[in-house]
Each structure stands twice: as C-alpha cells, then as structure tokens.
C-alpha cells in the first residue's frame, strides 16, 4: 500500500518540484513561471480558400487534367502501381537477402585471403596501428583519392547553386544586400558566446587530435575534419560572419582545399608510380605506434581533414547566406 500524503505535503517534496521543472511550470532560478499552453493549430478562412484555389489551379493550369487524358490515367494508375512495385521490390530483395551466406559464418566467401592479409600483415606493410586507416589510405588509396574529390566537387556544385555574386550583370546594389542575410546575424547572445568561447578551442584540439592520431587509433581525416567543421560552425553562430571572415573566407577555402588535394594527388602519384614500376619507395614506415610513422598516411589524413572541414563549413555558409 502506498503512503497517503496530503496535497500540501506533496507540493513540498522534491519529486513534485522535479515534475514541475520537467513540465516547464517552474524554473530553478526564477521560481514559478506561468506557461501558456500551446494553441491548437487553426487556419482562418481566407488562407483555406487561398490554399484550395492554388491546389485547383495546379490541377487545371499546370497539369491541365481535362485535356491531358494520359496524365489523368497516370494519376489513377500511379498509386496502385507504385504499391505493387514496392511489394515486388521488397519481396525480391528479401528473397535475395535470405539466400545470401549466413552472417558471421567463418566459411563465408568474404573471409578470404584478402581480409586475411589485411589483418595479418597490415601492421607490417602499412605501419598503421589502425588497420582501417591502413586499408583506406594505403592499400586502397586510389578510392580515397576519388572520395575526397567527391567532397570537393559536391562543394563546387553547392557553390554554383547557392553562391550569390554581386557581379556586373545587374545583380548588385539593393538586391545583393537584400539577399545577403548578414542583417539577421545573431546579436551577441551572451550564453552562446560564453559556451562557444569555452567549447570551441577543445573542439578544434580534439579534431586535430583525431586527424593526427588517425593511424594510431579510431579516427582519421574524415571524422576529424567533420569535428573541426562543426567547431567552425559553432564559432560562426556565436560570433557572426565578421569575426570568421577575418581568418576564413571562400578564397581561403579554395586555396587550402586545392593545396590539400594537390598534395594528396602528388603524394599518391609518387607511391603509385614507384609501386607500379617496382622502384623502392624512399618513404620510411617508422615504428608502428609512434606519431611520425606509417609513411604517407599521416600526411594524407591531414589533407583529407582539411578538405572535409572546409566542406562542412562551406555547406553551412552557403545554405545560410549564399556568400562569404
């Protein structure tokens, strides 16, 4: 049996206060706060009529259903057909998957001489304690070279789509400053700025650590670059574009990523060339476990990290403002 407590006693208990705090009706610092319940979503008549009119217009003007019998038929058949097609696809894929070799079986075809050499000789041959890094940056470095260019070209495509240039063809003056949402920058939010001041340096250091120790433990250029990019975004949100543009502009991004990609391409060309022509590579592997070891992997990790960090930051800036 539970102990019966009167209403007043209950209001004094800790659990009641925690419940209030969770509800949002009480703040720890400001004491009781009155919360307004959220209004249910209502639409006034004008917007409803407008919406209906727009929908009707779409059907009449855009699709022109009256005069386009094929569109009309398509719209009817489409739903049934798509459900049937999805069912077919699901059945096909499930059947195929259920016929695959069972997961985790030691005699599976995947456990062959390829993974055996990676695991047995990976440390000796690449000098990387982290075998995954050894695989992606030494054994299969060509794929990763392509992958870092994927990031670069994705950024270029976003630049094409979203960058607003105040150029000569009439896109200057008022229009430019209107589209440029510099005016909506956060105005000195103290909490955010304090948090950012404390958090951003450790985030950067942590990102650099992940990149530099990519061959020693879990991590590498891709993950470390993402961490640094996140730090840059936090800094930007707290202090605004004026501060970040002092050290990171679009020019910086393009130059750093060009240098990083060129460095990657040159370093790897050297190892491809020497490898294919059976020339002994002069790059020492070093002692596994030391920070300066595993040949080119450290440099490649740094290159990839720079590209990834720049990409993350550029994506954010482009989607938010369109220029920097």
């Amino acid at each position: 049996m539970s102990k019966k407590v009167s209403e007043k006693d209950y209001e004094r208990t800790l659990s009641f206060r925690i419940k209030q705090w969770m509800d949002g009706s009480r703040d720890l610092l400001l004491d009781n706060v009155e919360m307004k319940p959220q209004k249910p979503f209502t639409e006034d008549k004008i917007t409803v009529i407008k919406r209906r009119k727009e929908k009707k217009q779409t059907f009449e003007k855009v699709y022109d259903l009256k005069n386009n019998p094929e569109v009309r038929i398509f719209r009817k058949v489409y739903r049934i057909f798509s459900v049937l097609f999805c069912l077919f696809l699901v059945t096909m894929l499930l059947t195929a998957v259920s016929n695959l070799p069972s997961f985790g079986n030691a005699s599976n075809p995947v456990n062959n001489e390829v993974s055996e050499r990676y695991i047995e000789n990976g440390l000796q041959e690449t000098g990387a304690v982290n075998l995954v890094t050894g695989m992606i940056l030494d054994y299969r470095a060509f794929d990763t070279l392509g992958e870092s260019h994927v990031l670069f070209i994705a950024t270029c495509t976003v630049l094409i789509l979203l960058r607003i240039d105040g150029d000569k063809k009439g896109r200057s003056g008022m229009g430019y400053s209107m589209e440029n949402d510099r005016i909506y920058e956060p105005k000195n939010d103290i909490i955010l700025q304090t948090v950012a001041r404390i958090l951003v340096p450790p985030i950067f250091i942590f990102g650099i650590y992940i990149i530099l120790c990519g061959h020693l433990g879990p991590g590498g250029g891709f993950s470390g670059g993402a961490v640094i990019g996140a730090g840059l975004i936090l800094y930007l949100n707290a202090f605004g574009f004026e501060k970040t543009e002092r050290f990171f502009t679009q020019k910086t991004y393009r130059r750093t990523s060009f240098c990083a990609l060129a460095c990657y391409a040159l370093a790897k060309s050297y190892s491809f060339y020497t490898g294919a022509n059976h020339i002994e590579s002069v790059i020492p592997l070093g002692t596994p476990g030391a920070i300066l070891s595993s040949g080119l992997i450290l440099i490649l990790n740094i290159c990839v990290g720079i590209v990834v960090a720049g990409t993350m930051y550029t994506f954010y800036v482009m989607f938010r403002k369109g220029a920097y």
Binding site: N99, L100, V114, Y139, H149, F152, I160, D165, K168
Partner: protein
Amino acid sequence: MQFVQNFPFMTIILSLFSGPLSSILDGKKAKRVNLAVMSLITVMSCAVLVFVINSGSAYVYTMGHFPAPWGNEIRVGVLEAFMAVFFCVIMLLCVIGGVYEREQELEDTKQNLYYVMVNLLLSSLLALIYTNDLFTAYVFVEINTISACGLIMIRQNGRTLEAATRYMIMSLMGSGLLLLGICFLYDLTGHLLMSNIREQVQLLHQAGEYNIPLLVSLALISVGLAIKSALFPFHAWLPDAYGYSTLSSAAILSSLVSKGYIFLLVKIFFRVIGFGIVRDSKVVNVLFVFGVAGMIMGSVNAIRENNIRRMIAYSSVAQIGYIYMGFGLGTTAGVIASLYHVLSHAATKSLLFVAASGITDASGDHTEFLELTGAGYRNKLAGVAFTVGSLSMVGVPMFSGFISKLLFAQAGMESMHKMLPTLIALAISTILNAVYFMKTVIRIYTPVPAKVLQKKEYRCISMKEQPCKSTALVFFIILNMLLGLSSEPVIGLLRSGLAMFA
C-alpha cells in the same frame, strides 16, 4: 615496364589535379588550363592506344605497392585505350564548340567552376574506362553524377534547376541500385576486383549455388546503370536536362556521360559476371524489350516536339534504346554493334547539338520550328552540319549511323528468336527517325521571302564570326565521315578489344 604504360594513371591524376586548380584560377585562365590539359590527355591516350595495339595484349597497372586483390589496379586493353581517346576528343570538341554560349549564359564569377566540373567529369570517365575494381568504379560514378548535375544547373534558370533536381533524384537512385548490386556481389564472392569476382562467379555458377542473389545483383546493376544512362522507361529526366542546359553541357551529357555508364555495363557483363552467364540469366531479354520500346517511343516523342533542342534530346532516348537492344541480342556481334553505336551516337549527337545552336543563333535565338525556316541559308556551315548529323542518325550510307544500323541488322540475323523483332524495330525506328530529322532539314532549307527576313531580326552568320563553333563543327563532320567511310579498322579494334576483355 615502359614509360608509356604509366600514361593511363597519369591522365586520370592529371585531370583530377586540374579540377581543384581551376577553382582557384579565374575563368579565362581556367579555360586555357582546361584546354591544355585535355589536349595533353588526348595525346597521352593516343600513345597508350598505339602501345597497346603494338603489344597485342592488355596489361595491368598496380596502383601502389600492393598487388591486385589487396590494392587497386587499372587495366588497359585496346578497347579501353580506344574509348579513352575517343571520349577525350569528343570532350575537347564539345568544350570548344560551346565557348561563346558559356560566356553569354553563365555568370562571370562562375566560369571557372564550369571547368572544375569538366575536368573532374573527364577524370571520372577515364577512371570508369580503365578501372579493374568495382568499388573504384562506384567512387568515380559518384563524381560523374555530381559533376553532371553541376553541368546542368550552372546555367541558372528555373528549367535547368528543375532538370538538375530530376536528374539528381533519378541518377542517385541508379547509383544506389548499382551499389546494392556491388554489395551483393561482394558478399557472394568476397572480392571487389573484377577478374577475381569473375573466377568466383564462374565457380558458383557451375556449382549452382546462390543463383537467386546472383540474378538479383545482376538485375540491380543493369537497372541502376540503365536508369543512369536513360533507357526508355527511366528517361523522364533527359529532355529538360539536355534541352535547357548550356550548349557544351548538353553535348557532353548526351555524348559522354550516358556512354560512360554504358561502357561500365559492358565491362561488368564481360569482365565481372561473364557474358555466358548474363545471356543465360534472361536479363538480356528484359534489356531487349526496353531497348526496342525506347527506340520507338523516343522517336514518337521526338516527332511531337516543337523545340529543336528537345527534339534532339528525345532522339537520344531512341538511340540509347538501340544500344540496349544490341546488348539484348545476347551475342558478341550485338555488343560490338552497340559499342559501335556508342561511338557513332557520341560523334553525331554532339554534332547535332552544336549545329542546332548555330541554327538558332541565325534565327534570333528562337528554338521553335517555324522560326527556323531558311536558317540553313543564313548559317551555311551549321546547316550543312545539321544535315550531315541528320543523315547519319537516319542511317544513310557514307555516315556513321549507317554502319551501326548495318551491324545491328547483321547481329539480329544471327539470333534465332530475336531476328524478326530486331529487324521490324530497326525499320520502324529508321522511318520515324527520318520523319523528324528530315522534317527539320527541309524546314531549315525552305527559302524565306526577303521581306519577312527583314521584319524579323534574323541575321546571317559566317564561319569567321564563330570561329570556335565552326572548328568544332568541321571536326565533328570529319569524325562522322571517318566513322562512316572507314569503319573496318574501328570494328576490328572493337572486336580485338572485346576479345581482350575476357
């Protein structure tokens, strides 16, 4: 190892390198760098082709210090080297042909980004051609997809943005299916290297194990690449993407991007799975049916089109249908016919796009048919070039299209059950092709009274006025005639290259 053998990898790295380099240069310098790099790559690829023909066998080039199943490698045979040379030449001509349009239509500050796209696209095409590893192929398919998107939407208006969105959705769907298929294959064989997968697949096939997953992975890969190269039911993204993007983008997309995927499919059929297994699996029959449907429906849509560039775009659907019909025949002769059609279509379609833009230039930038009346007299070279392209598409002797149609018909005669549908589809499609292409040719050579000419702001364009476009057109015409008149050595190359595949 001779020094020439390093060239394939150097061409890939060189174009990968010049992509980021263009991003830090301004538009004009980027253009010069781009043209220089592409010419250099063409010369290097020619050297590789000569070397491979002389040595008479394909060679494998290890990318790094680790041999094949562990590291990456590329493989160079006659077919690969020839395709590389051909793609480089077409790319160079397309980029030269569209210089004027690019400078007009793109923002000044974004000119250099165009060359980033072009360079990385070229590198991805080269890597797709040379690679001997399925996962490397997938990585470069990604680059190919993204750069093609960029090429479409760099001319910024509503239509191209919509087209790029459609292209992106469809193309990513195709990439996803391709990746799924590769995953299945990896799970079944434990390899990503093409030659090793082939050995394992042959063993599995003989033992009769894992038939269903093998079939599913083959189907996923075929459908994925078919979506990416706009086979008939998946062509919805194509007309807008080709019709409204800037000239050289349209030419590059139609003649190279889709062909890269088709070449990858050939490679997967022959080098990964083995053509015998593909033939037995009935997947070819599906490709055959869709190919035939595409041949006819693409032409029907093209006839109904009123905009000359969209008409040419729909004609691409029909020509892609031809190529897949050739695969669908399930014989080596059919595949050779398809490969020849890849070449002939690449040479002809880019010619048609450039010529069509020359014609519309002479008609006050209108693309509707009525406005084009008599344009062949106002811009003589473009008129001639358009006529050559049309005749080639219809399949008149002396031009490249005739040879590919002849090869299709010959390949069709060899197969028992598919002879009749092939021949009938070829006949119907040829007539439909003739309907819309000859209609346009007659339209551009119908004289217009002088009064009307003065009233509308038409102008005559001489060869000297558009030097870049004229050069490109002349080279395209020569290429077309070469493919049409001396097809024997090319077919010989394709045949020996395909034999080297196995």
